[in-house]
């Protein structure tokens, strides 16, 4: 349906309201704009807002409701007129039987008995047919249902169009009558804008609330089937086999310890690369390099931060992993082609600029007087750095590293492309391990049934991931902020 048409109509009406509001303000003021409390433009905006905002709110509320109501009507129709005993034979011979999961001895069709996914499929089918999709293999009466559906939608659309425009017109009319020289149009408009801004500010909070609620809600459903302790302390992770054997709770196949271990192993390797390289390059940039070198090298290093992670993942899988494997073979070591080492190292490269720019910030924040004090005693540069500057900057550097760890833990694409899928509880970096993020992706990409523990497990893992990174972030941000305050 062309919702856009409705929106355009509302906007046009609002624009007209603006012009008329403006003109009326001028007329009411008798052409003496000084006698107006607010400029004519504000009166125009006042009318435009009154016309557009209520109509748009109605539209936004209507849109998600409309298909649901139409679908309910269509399903009603299906239940009442189609699912009759004398239609049963026709249904049995059409594709619909498959869709409804009709068993041979069934004599009635009750929609409320349908399983969730079959019910979903039926709805999709109705929607497709209403949208003009081919009705291959269905009994002709399915078209009736689809027609009911599209009929409702059409009526609803026309109704929505009329009601929205009426509301827009009414709003504009109401505002128009209120225009008077002494009306505080500017204050009204400004209040509306302020409320809009407040609304925008709360989006961030709503996002967090949304994240927490959706993760918690789905994770609770998961933990209703799998005990929390099994999840947190279990050593065996194999969601696929658990599904097949259909005995989810008892197998303990959702033990997430190998995932945590794999995540930590890869993050550790990443940190072993990123911390020394990032820290030392930050030190060199801040304390040794002259301006010319800094002006060239710094932006080049920052390119590393701008490269999408999927590129790193490709690089790890295509170049780094085979390289390690080759090196391993030549010295007689068995290196997995999805080794934690390769994934961790490439992740480390990705994090280098993160560590170095945060360290650079904290190192340059150490007051110059500290350096002078040290040089004044005859310390060399390196002595000054290692004995005065780094100890002074330590909280800041640690905060930065914590943020980097949180990023490593949450990094997805590199590990999805370069780390393994099999949950392998090992500390050997040459073997393949899997991580929390890899498992979330594997569990959720592809066809999903929403109630299976397999899908819900992804949310439980997401919750763990969110909580882990949240803790790290809060601690890190706190440490860094305290550090900054110290030198301000």
């Amino acid at each position: 349906m062309d919702t856009i048409l409705v929106i355009v109509a509302i906007v046009l009406l609002a624009a007209a309201g603006f012009v008329m509001g403006r003109r009326r303000a001028v007329v009411r003021s008798g052409g003496v704009s000084r006698s107006l409390h607010s400029l004519p433009n504000y009166h125009g905006h006042f009318v435009a807002l009154w016309s557009a905002v209520p109509a748009l709110i109605l539209l936004v509320l209507w849109l998600p409701l409309e298909p649901t109501l139409a679908m309910n009507a269509a399903l009603d129709y299906f239940q009442q007129h189609i699912a009759e005993a004398n239609n049963l034979e026709t249904i049995r011979q059409s594709k619909l039987a498959l869709l409804l999961g009709l068993s041979p001895d069934q004599t009635t069709i009750r929609l409320e008995d349908l399983a969730a996914d079959q019910f979903g499929l039926l709805q999709t089918e109705i929607r497709n047919m209403a949208a003009g999709g081919a009705s291959t293999g269905h009994a002709a009466f399915m078209q009736e249902v689809a027609d009911v559906y599209s009929g409702y939608r059409e009526t609803s659309y026309i109704l929505m169009f009329v009601v929205c425009l009426a509301l827009a017109g009414a709003g504009a009319g109401f505002a128009w009558t209120r225009i008077a020289p002494e009306m505080r149009a500017r204050n009204h408009v400004e209040r509306a804008i302020t409320w809009f801004m407040i609304l925008c500010s709360t989006v961030a909070i709503l996002t967090t609330v949304g994240i927490v609620l959706s993760l918690l809600f789905e994770a609770m459903r998961f933990f209703a089937q799998i005990p929390v302790t099994d999840f947190i302390f279990g050593l065996h992770w194999s969601p696929q086999t658990a599904i097949r054997e259909d005995q989810v709770g008892s197998t303990g196949a959702f033990g997430a310890v190998p995932l945590f271990a794999g995540t930590i192993l890869i993050s550790l390797i990443a940190m072993c690369v990123a911390v020394p390289v990032g820290l030392f390059s930050a030190i060199y940039m801040a304390e040794y390099a002259d301006n010319r070198v800094r002006a060239v090298v710094k932006p080049i290093l920052e390119i590393l931060a701008g490269i999408p992670t999927v590129v790193y993942g490709f690089f790890a899988a295509l170049t780094v992993a085979p390289f390690f494997r080759g090196v391993g073979e030549s010295i007689g070591l068995d290196v997995s082609s999805e080794s934690a080492l390769a994934a961790g190292m490439v992740m480390g490269i990705m994090i280098i600029p993160f560590v170095s720019s945060l360290s650079d910030d904290v190192i340059t924040a150490v007051p110059q007087s500290m350096r002078e004090g040290s040089y004044g005693l005859g310390a060399t540069k390196s002595e000054t750095i290692t004995r005065v500057i780094l100890p002074a900057a330590l909280p800041g550097v640690v905060g930065g590293i914590l943020l980097a760890v949180s990023r490593a833990i949450g990094e997805t694409m590199i590990v999805v492309m370069a780390a393994g899928l099999g949950a392998n509880l090992t500390a050997n970096p040459l073997e393949a391990v899997t991580t929390v993020t890899v498992q979330i992706v594997t569990l959720l990409v592809g066809d999903q049934e929403f109630d299976s523990p397999k899908t819900l497990a992804a949310f439980a893992l997401g919750l763990v991931l969110f909580l882990m990174t949240l803790c790290l972030n809060i601690i890190a941000l706190h440490v860094v902020r305290k550090y900054r305050e110290q030198y301000e």
């Binding site: 002259d290 301006n291 007051p367 007087s369 500290m370 350096r371 002078e372 004090g373 040290s374 040089y375 004044g376 005693l377 005859g378 310390a379 060399t380 002595e383 004995r387 005065v388 100890p391 002074a392």
Partner: protein, 277 residues
């Protein structure tokens, strides 16, 4: 005399007497001849020649931006850490050119210590602050020696009595005056020959200032001290000799008493009588 302040381009008559002529009778500890300091294209110090006598307190005075701090920092090459700074001319410590290529900056700074305008203790314990110098210079072989140096230095800086029970507490937790004395103790710990003090009391209250001044007077017996100060009273109280700088030039140098009671140059007179600056 506002024009003196407002018009730095105006040509003043600077006396020829100081240029190239020793101002101390005996052997000078530090001697500068025709020293210039540049920040990029800007010349901050112009052809300064002066001598600093051993075991005396010499004070540098002059209006803000006259280059006295710059010159002080040239004496232990602290200016080296500023990229665009360049020093020409001849500055000697015990007859040795400190800007010679063979001279090691690290060693030089150990011989010519420095105390800064704002107390800048390291964010470490009091003990570690003082021990820092001896440690990096490898002056001590074992803990006992280090303890001894730290105690002696704190003692000499007149701080030991106040802090001896809390040597492990952070140096940043001390009061401003104590922090500055800690910085002096830190400088003393490496046994310097000269101590440069860049307005050491400007961040302190009068009582703390009095203590530092007392300390400077005591230290004179063992060290050569150069102090930059904004306060003429302080220069008169603590120093034996005084040099007056103006817009990068050394105007006059001599016995503190002479400078303050009977200056040769009218710029000096104008400054000390408070007509500008």
């Amino acid at each position: 005399m506002t024009h003196l302040r407002n018009d730095p381009e105006q040509q003043h008559e600077y006396p020829e007497t100081t240029a190239g002529k020793p101002t101390v009778d005996g052997d000078a500890k530090v001697a500068a001849r025709g020293a210039n300091v540049f920040y990029g294209a800007k010349q901050a110090i112009k052809e300064v020649s002066l001598d600093i006598a051993p075991n005396e307190v010499t004070s540098f005075i002059g209006p803000s931006g006259c280059g006295k701090s710059t010159f002080l920092r040239a004496l232990n090459r602290m200016n080296d850490i500023i990229d665009i700074c360049r020093v020409t001319g001849d500055i000697r410590l015990d007859g040795e050119d400190i800007y010679d290529r063979k001279v090691d900056v690290v060693q030089l700074r150990a011989r010519v210590g420095m105390v800064f305008q704002k107390p800048n203790p390291f964010p470490k314990s009091i003990f570690e602050n003082v021990a820092y110098g001896p440690r990096i210079h490898g002056l001590v072989a074992h803990k006992d020696e280090l303890d001894e140096i730290v105690h002696t230095s704190l003692e000499r800086a007149g701080l030991l009595g106040e802090v001896k029970d809390r040597l492990e507490t952070p140096g940043t937790g001390l009061s401003g005056g104590q922090q500055q004395r800690l910085c002096i103790a830190r400088a003393i710990a490496v046994s310097p020959e000269v101590i440069l003090m860049d307005e050491p009391c400007s961040a302190l209250d009068p009582i703390a200032t009095a203590k530092i001044e007392e300390l400077i007077d005591e230290l004179r017996g063992n060290y050569t001290i150069v102090i930059v100060t904004h306060s003429m009273q302080q220069a008169a109280r603590v120093s034996q000799r005084t040099a007056f700088f103006h817009l990068g030039n050394l105007v006059e140098m001599g016995d503190t008493e002479t400078i303050f009671t009977n200056p040769e140059h009218k710029l000096t007179q104008g400054y000390i009588t408070g007509r500008f600056g």
